[in-house]
């Protein structure tokens, strides 16, 4: 049983590692994916996928790709629980910052992604809803920027040591002197605690 579980986890980890570069919008949404301690969260979504590697419970490195390779970015993320506790309800805030490279109209953009969410977590289920404003400003054409405001829902369940789930977001993208544009995002995600990855590596070595 343990061996089977290890094989499944190893497979999922391999898949996640393979997808690590593929999963990006100017939005490292993986920062908001249900995880708590050190973990890797992959959000495979359209139009943007992302990965957050939580090195500490509060510090992550993020990667994002807007598919199909229209833009990709790299950044750091921070999070903090303002109220509540690990189980039950809690109020979290996250902040991402980094760079993004748009490829169709090539250039470099600065990204800043503040967000907040309310979560309810049980032993095996996780639900959260929140607001995010993943902004970007192009450095080679500063008239070009995006200032989105989106509402989002996350739902997750525990499968062994990992969390699997789905997310959806809808909102509007604002830009100076422009009309608001529609924003939609949807996809699935997987979050793997670092300790599980260590365990997988040990069992498959």
């Amino acid at each position: 049983m343990t061996r089977t579980l290890s094989s499944v986890l190893a497979g999922l980890a391999s898949l996640a590692l393979t997808l690590r570069a593929a999963p990006a919008h100017a939005d490292p949404s993986a920062l908001r994916a249900p995880t708590l301690g050190p973990a890797i969260a992959f959000v495979v979504a359209a139009p943007e996928s992302s990965r957050a590697v939580w090195l500490r419970p509060w510090l992550a490195i993020t990667q994002e790709v807007r598919l199909p390779f229209d833009a990709f970015g790299l950044g750091v993320g921070l999070r903090r629980t303002l109220a509540g506790r690990e189980r039950g309800w809690a109020l979290d805030v996250q902040l991402g910052a980094g760079f993004m490279v748009p490829t169709l109209y090539p250039g470099l953009a600065l990204t800043l992604s503040p967000s907040t969410s309310i979560r309810v977590r049980g032993d095996n289920l996780w639900f959260s809803m929140g607001l995010a404003a993943p902004a970007a400003i192009r450095l080679n054409d500063t008239r070009d920027m995006r200032l989105p405001l989106q509402g989002e829902l996350w739902f997750a369940f525990r499968a062994g040591p990992i969390w699997l789930g789905a997310m959806t977001a809808i909102g509007a993208v604002f830009a100076p002197s422009q009309s608001a544009a529609l924003l939609m995002q949807g996809g699935g995600y997987i979050a793997i605690p670092m300790e599980s990855i260590s365990s997988i590596m040990t069992h498959t070595r």
């Binding site: 169709l104 970007a136 544009a181």
Partner: protein, 304 residues
Amino acid sequence: MRPRSTPSLLALSLTLSSACMPTGPGTVERTPDPARNGSDGSEGAYGAALVTIQTQARVTERVTVDVVFPSDSAGNLDRRGAPYPVIVFTQGGLVPSDRYRWLAKHFATRGYVTLSTRHVLDLAIFQVDNGTAALQALRRTASTPGHTLANAVAPTGPVVAMGHSLGGVIASWQWVQYGYAGVVLLASFPEGSAEVSLRAGTPVLSITGDRDGLARVPDVTAGLLRFSPPRLLAVVQGMNHFDWTEGASPSELSRDQSPTRPQTATRTDALRVIDTWLDATLRSDPQAQQALTLGSFSGVTVSR
């Protein structure tokens, strides 16, 4: 977990993005013919070719732009008349932009570059500024030596906005917001809050059919009266709403009135007015300006 893949991703992305920028000829949509003179609603002597370019709006969002331009028989830009004036076209709601290709081809044969952007769900209302992002991309492309579209348009050359139905609403907005030289509404009228008075003094053409079941003549007339002169309302006899599009579905036609004249006849009558208006507005053609002043067009009732 080092992000080792970033450099390779960068290289891959740049390769992919450069692949999206054609440098060869466009797809020939119409071959040139010196015998065509472009008068009286007919095609001009240029050929018409299509190139699709990709750009980004709001930093990250992909915008796919179909550019139909005056071409030679091989699909290369016919440079004799370049740079050409530009028409930024916006499709009607839920109507794919390629269903208006017949219009773009016609304008190309007469020496105009038409660009139309594709929109999510074929609803331009959700991305009303994509047309201007497309125009900026076209101008950047036109300044790229060696590109198919090099020198096709001037960096600050004249532009009009044109749109059908819901696209006319967007075109009005673009005309106000971005200061285009004029606006053409095909079976449309501006939405209530559009600040059209800000562009008083720039020309407006509103053209519709008297058999239009969606943008009815009284509504289109009331819409036109919100614009300041110089304005022109042209009502094509026997034309309905979906005569402006190719491949109208039974469902679309069921919401429309039946046309009372053949589509080729109503389209020719409509194009006679539009061509004249474009020549007057974008080329300052004195004969076209005089024809507009006279306002006498076969099969069309003109008012101001």
